[in-house]
Symmetry: C4
Subunit: 249 residues, 4 copies
């Protein structure tokens, strides 16, 4: 089932933005659920996000089998995406990255929590998945469905899970939302580390986090997307969102 060129280009843009904003380097990846087939997802071949072109985008079953590899090499960790799409019908886009300021929270006992309104999208509790708990000493890569399902279970119905000694996953209802949340997750981590050195932090209250999430609209993601497209040297097209997050402030 073919995908529209604009959807492919938007996925390319997402990769370039994540690279430009320092949330991925040579590694990390972002996928979308197939717009017309909930049983598939779209993800680039194994390549650095900054280098990805539309022709690199492949289709996979939710079990991670390529539909149309055509000689292209897949990410060994693609299973992360499928397992989350299987467990979470509400999810339409997933980012996996090694976002640098987020890593320290995955390897210490300090909880990552929202310090400002822009970053409330991580929710009030961010779990940490440790591959070692159920799989022992591995190379930490999520290279099969069993590990990926274990990670998806740790994520539960939340938007973010940290991966100890590895990185994190961000799941959301649209591509622009997960990119937004990946960038602001990194920012929150950076700000929280700085504030932590100054003294005890007043985090957003649970009520405030809920209020941000209840009132956030796609227009917020659009404003950032236009800016990030410019920084990444990519064309910007306004894409009004459907569903509960439509509209804007």
């Amino acid at each position: 089932m073919t995908v529209s060129p604009s959807a492919l280009e938007e996925l390319v843009t997402a990769n370039r933005i994540l690279a430009r904003e320092g949330v991925v380097d040579s590694f990390g990846h972002v996928s979308i659920r197939h717009p017309d087939d909930a049983g598939r997802y779209l993800l680039s071949r194994a390549r650095a996000p900054e280098c990805i072109e539309a022709d690199d985008v492949m289709q996979f079953t939710l079990e991670g089998a390529p539909i149309d590899a055509g000689g292209r090499k897949s990410y060994s960790e693609r299973f992360i995406h499928g397992a989350i799409y299987q467990a979470r019908p509400d999810v339409h886009a997933v980012v996996h990255n090694h976002s640098p300021s987020v890593i320290p929270f995955g390897i210490t006992s300090t909880a990552l929590r929202p310090v400002m309104h822009m970053c409330a999208s991580m929710g009030t509790q961010v779990p940490t998945w440790d591959s070692r708990t159920n799989f022992g000493d591995t190379n930490l890569l999520v290279t099969n469905m069993e590990m990926a399902r274990d990670l998806a279970a740790a994520l539960g119905d939340r938007p973010v899970a940290l991966m100890r000694g590895h990185g994190c996953v961000i799941a959301g209802t649209s591509l622009r939302e997960v990119v937004f949340n990946a960038v602001y997750l990194e920012l929150n981590a950076e700000l929280q580390m700085k504030a932590n050195a100054l003294g005890p932090i007043t985090f957003l209250s649970d009520g405030e986090v809920e209020a941000v999430l209840a009132t956030r609209r796609s227009f917020t993601f659009e404003r950032a997307w236009e800016y990030w497209c410019r920084r990444a040297g990519r064309p910007y097209d306004f894409r009004p969102m459907e569903g509960p997050l439509a509209g804007g402030h």
Copy 2:
């Protein structure tokens, strides 16, 4: 009442500088009081500062009603600007941002104080406004005049107020002054955090802060403005300032 093209272009430049210098990202905004009508202010439509063009600039009453929207979407937090212009006849430009190094001081009990002469413009005491004190659990956005007046009251007659879990506001007598103060507020915050890790800090004395403010002239802002225009890829035009800050050192 129309505004000169040069005033509009200067406001565009201010937006681009704030973006280039890392004081705003996709969010944050800067306004000027209408040069010929003290009851209005000029502010872009809701757009990332780096993307703003002269055609994006709108006029608002001090209550935040757009004069000439023409289908353009307003910043939901525009009320911040009007409330400050109402309370402070001396103020002719306002910045609201989420300046990253400033955030930690708004969420901890460590007071932001001047550590060097360039940053003395924050004054000897920087208050923190917490939306939760009078408005409870909200999404933290200042989306009406009631909240904005509460913030303006916290600001009082000072140049800077922090906003807990959100950002800050900077008010001044000219556009070039508030941009200058926004950039050096961020720098002071960064330097103070670094120094704080080394040991007790010798801050500027109150007398030193007063001496800096008493002797600072518009030429200081001009020197920085030329530099920032170059970095932002914007043309520079020297604009001699009138009033108490005119002249230079």
Copy 3:
């Protein structure tokens, strides 16, 4: 014995990447063992890595004697490379640098240890060599074979050694591998410092480090190399690797 233009260009690219990624500044250098003569190595004349061209590459005996100087000035610390090639037949590329986040670990007693899978290539133990131990008060430069052999002995059969008050050396089986490891050594150091400020760190276990090293393939280095070439403005050519690291994940 002449060297292929592509090998020279790859060495130039390595220099440019190390500069672009902030692992070297005006100083630091990278060499390869001569592809056809295990008793020689290739290293630029004394020049900042960002400025190096193919014509700058010189050949040296393992004792550090230039084969074909032609008036070109050698790095005074070239001996580092030869001493490691002498002691380690498995090594085909060496980086020496002053990687900024790594320096603090060489001058304090905090051990640099892998905090994430990408950085496991430093191994489970990173020694620190102190020139002062055997050579007393010097300018810290490794300017003869005696000092270089002392450093190589400290390195032993490991991939990385820190140099107190100076920098570090990274030794590996290919150019792309040592560049990769130099960049991720810097990242690990940065992440470890950040995590250290948050509390006790869960490092990778020894078993995890071994698992990463046992399963890492040249494809990992290729993915990063393509990205770094793009950032450094250099052409990318895929170079399938031979030997134990060949293939990919």
Copy 4:
């Protein structure tokens, strides 16, 4: 007495390098003693270093009187330069800046000391001058010869002095040397702050600092100068140095 175009262009390049390397922003300045008249120095008109052109360079007596102002505005702090040239016949170039990582050491009691060989040029002891000690509450600017002489006395025969709540001065025998030392002073400050958070630091010994200074040659400055010219978009010309630092390693 006219100055060669190449000397003027070198001074312009020094300004651009200091800006590009983040050691100055809109403020800070660098001068040279007049090559043919020890009683004069060359310094730009009051302008941001990144914007300076050859036509901006003015001549001053050591008392700070402009020789040929021609309507150009002088830096109000030019007196710093003259006072140091008066007190130090060995000095031929001076930088004054607000180098960001250096500021914290001027406002706390933590001494700035060399942590690596590249940064040994600050010497074994860096004094801090506090304008308040002899001049009370001022705007901290060194705007007359009396203050400048007080600062020069604090500097003594050393290469660097910090200025509390303000910045620092770096004095040396050549322009390329002071630019080099300004950049590596900033780096040392950054590295020392990072190391300080990890635990007690092993600094360079006094003997090591002396050994670095005794063996450093102008070639070291040349290697960096070429690199920084490239980064600053300025042409590079090799300038062999005369005197005790001539030659290279």
